[in-house]
């Protein structure tokens, strides 16, 4: 226990200030005001791997590490689409995930946002469209923001998520934040 506490104390707070939203990643407008009115400062994300190579997942995981500290911004990943405001979708949509993706989208309450992650999510990437792949995410569900990259860095993903909200986030100091 002592070792654990010592390690926590010696590392301290390593979180970095968040990047600015990148408005150029946004594909369509309209929902932002409504979403902001509903959400206030909190955002719940549901991630769906619709056929990715798992590279994008590694960078999405990184968003939760102490340096990017996504939860410190009031943004967190939730276990069910029914709890989500925003869907983070990776991969070209495989034919075998098409139905699951549509159902997950339908299960997400309105108003909702969709952010497609990675070259595959944006264009179908190297996998393209075949007997087994539907290609880009917007071929299956409406997409608000598309973040290219293979895989996009956590900073780019965060810029895309913030662009979906069209809000700027003040850096969070960590201590004394209300839950």
């Amino acid at each position: 226990m002592l070792k654990t506490l010592r390690q926590i104390a010696s590392i301290g707070i390593v979180s970095e200030p968040p990047p600015q939203a990148d408005e150029s990643l946004r594909l369509r407008d309209g929902l932002q005001d409504e979403i902001r009115a509903v959400l206030g400062r909190a955002l719940c994300i549901r991630h769906i791997d619709a056929g990715s190579c798992n590279g994008c997942e590694l960078e999405i995981h990184a968003l939760n590490n102490p340096l990017y500290n996504l939860e410190g911004l009031g943004i967190r990943f939730v276990a069910s689409p029914r709890h989500a405001d925003l869907l983070l979708v990776t991969g070209p949509v495989s034919k075998h995930m098409e139905v699951a993706l549509r159902r997950t989208y339908d299960a997400t309450p309105d108003p909702k946002l969709v952010v497609a992650i990675g070259d595959c999510g944006c264009t179908g990437g190297i996998f393209g469209e075949t007997y087994a792949s539907c290609g880009r995410v917007s071929n299956v569900i409406p997409v608000d923001v598309a973040v290219p990259g293979c895989p996009p860095s956590p900073t780019r993903i965060l810029q895309g998520i913030l662009a979906a909200l069209a809000r700027s986030v003040a850096p969070v100091t960590g201590a004394g934040e209300p839950p």
């Binding site: 070792k3 654990t4 390690q7 926590i8 590392i11 390593v14 991630h47 769906i48 791997d49 619709a50 056929g51 990715s52 190579c53 798992n54 590279g55 994008c56 997942e57 590694l58 960078e59 999405i60 995981h61 990184a62 939760n64 590490n65 102490p66 340096l67 990943f77 276990a79 069910s80 689409p81 991969g91 070209p92 495989s94 034919k95 075998h96 995930m97 098409e98 139905v99 699951a100 549509r102 997950t104 990437g125 190297i126 996998f127 393209g128 469209e129 075949t130 007997y131 087994a132 792949s133 539907c134 290609g135 293979c150 895989p151 860095s153």
Partner: protein
């Protein structure tokens, strides 16, 4: 026939060092497989090739006693199933079912359920043989699959997936449970099948290493290296020594990054969020160091035919060395914390046990295999350059539980740090890439690399004018997914995420 006699009849196969090839007639297929199983050979992969003009061929790759052997079965009778080897090598069962789904040839295995095929295409359509289907916009019909039913007093089913609660890949798990105890788990995979093997045939042979790197993103280096090893063998080209050492550097960095990620996630799954925070911080430091040294956080296209895409930056060597030393030092501290934490120890010990006997019978491979006394590592057993000059200490445990798989990760992490230190000190001078001829039409080859998860194989056949006729990438997850079904038996449902994570198998690498 003894192994010796089989090898004597075989001929050299381009690609991985020590690889041999042998064509086996139809009536002797099972007999040869039996001889190999008696000689403790290990199945690496099973796949089919051929197109609409030729009868399909079945291939199976094995590793035994410091050599690899690729068997080929020329199909003679299309109307009749070919002899299956799933009783000798249980891992072959799903591979044979996948061959039936993609190439339309069936084995004698009585389990004729589809494996990679859901409802996206008809059973009569053979994606790797027939002309490409036009992309359709209609939603595919709902898939139904014949799960094995467990019946009895109080038995109920829990169906999970394909969309899971965490940030992980999609797959379906069907648990049959009594109370909270798991009687049986049946996996249903294939959700991320996106036609990778067909896609290979649409790409130029000197560019498809990019697709190989994306078979399973967390094993990008292993797959792209195995692919390039096959191409280079087929083109009869030797890569410069610096390229080989740089590739080993990438491969060990990939291993360290994945082990750091897993060790954090395993702590988290045992209810110790501190572990995730600490290890994910260390992983981020490593990725940033990689960004500075190679211009990439993940080394997706770093390995390419003829060598590597880039050289290491001048500042990269001291910077990586410093970063790895810091990581190693901190990991030692964190390991003590894990070891001394009663809650973590309690969750890790005895969970998801695979005994060495079961592991040997089912062919558990790679990292998970080494945690169950399966002492195999291609870096020592079938070393390619530079591992011939870079001896690797094999890390083996025999408890076969989550704790053993955690211990193997800790030990391998340190071993990889040691190897990286040596590589950085011994990087040969010279070019990092050499020009490459396009392999001639009809040449075949295979690459074999020990990725962080286990042995990765890429089998390749060149087509005319620098095209690809057939490419089969093979992830070790094929072997270990069926063993996970056994590892969970008798455990409680809430331990499944932890046990699953301790294997951390690839969906994408398996579903293709």
């Amino acid at each position: 026939m003894t192994l010796q006699a089989l090898f004597e009849r075989s001929e050299a196969h381009p690609g991985a060092p020590g690889l041999r090839a042998l064509t086996v007639p139809y009536e002797r297929w099972q007999e040869v497989a039996f001889d190999l199983s008696v000689a403790d050979a290990r199945l690496v992969a099973l796949w089919a090739s051929g197109d609409a003009r030729t009868a399909p061929l079945i291939h199976a790759a094995f590793v035994a006693e410091g050599a690899g052997l690729v068997l080929t079965l020329p199909m003679v009778d299309l109307g009749e199933p070919y002899p299956g080897i799933e009783e000798l090598f249980p891992a072959a069962a799903r591979m044979q079912r996948a061959v039936a789904d993609l190439s339309g040839v069936r084995s004698t295995d009585p389990d004729t359920r589809p494996w990679l095929r859901h409802a996206a295409w008809q059973a009569s359509y053979r994606p790797l043989i027939d002309p490409p289907l036009l992309a359709t916009t209609t939603e595919p019909p709902i898939d139904s699959y014949d799960f094995v039913r467990v019946e009895g007093d109080g038995v109920h089913e829990i169906a999970v997936g394909p969309v899971h609660a965490g940030t992980i890949e999609p797959g379906h798990f069907r648990f049959s449970v009594v109370g909270e105890k798991v009687l049986r788990l049946e996996e249903r995979l294939g959700y991320v099948h996106k036609g990778i093997e067909l896609r290979f045939t649409q790409l130029p042979i000197l560019e498809a290493h990019r697709l190989a790197a994306r078979v399973s993103g967390d094993s990008a280096v292993a797959f792209s290296w195995a692919y390039c090893q096959a191409v280079e063998g087929m083109a009869n080209t030797e890569i410069p020594p610096r390229a080989a050492w740089l590739r080993a550097l990438y491969l060990e960095l990939e291993r360290v990054a994945n082990h750091l990620g897993d060790l954090g996630a395993l702590g988290n799954d045992a209810g110790f969020a501190f572990g995730l925070a600490q290890f994910s911080r260390l992983k981020e430091h490593l990725l940033r160091a990689s960004q500075q040294a190679f211009g990439q956080r993940y080394l997706m296209d770093a390995v390419m035919p003829g060598g590597t895409q880039r050289d290491i930056t001048r500042m990269g060597i001291p910077m990586l060395r410093r970063c790895l030393r810091e990581i190693e030092h901190e990991v030692l501290t964190l390991r003590t914390i894990y070891d001394e934490h009663e809650g973590v120890r309690d969750r890790f010990t005895g969970a998801g046990t695979v005994t060495p006997e079961l592991a040997a019978r089912l062919g558990l491979t790679g990292l998970a295999g080494r945690a169950s006394a399966q002492a195999f590592d291609l870096r020592s057993d079938l070393p390619c350059e530079p591992y011939t000059q870079l001896p690797v200490t094999k890390i083996v445990r025999s408890d076969g539980d989550v704790a053993a798989r955690v211990a193997v990760r800790f030990d391998e992490l340190h071993e990889s740090c040691r190897l990286i230190e040596r590589i950085l000190g011994a990087l040969p001078a010279g070019p990092h890439r050499t020009p490459l001829q396009v392999p001639a039409d009809g040449t075949v080859g295979a690459g074999l690399i020990e990725g962080w998860r286990g042995p990765v194989l890429v089998a390749l056949e060149a087509g005319p004018g620098g095209s690809i006729r057939r490419c089969h990438p093979h992830d070790p997850s094929w072997h270990n997914w069926p063993v996970l079904e056994h590892a969970i038996i008798g455990n409680i449902v809430p331990d499944f995420p932890l046990i699953n994570k301790s294997f951390n198998l690839s969906y994408s690498g398996h579903d293709l």
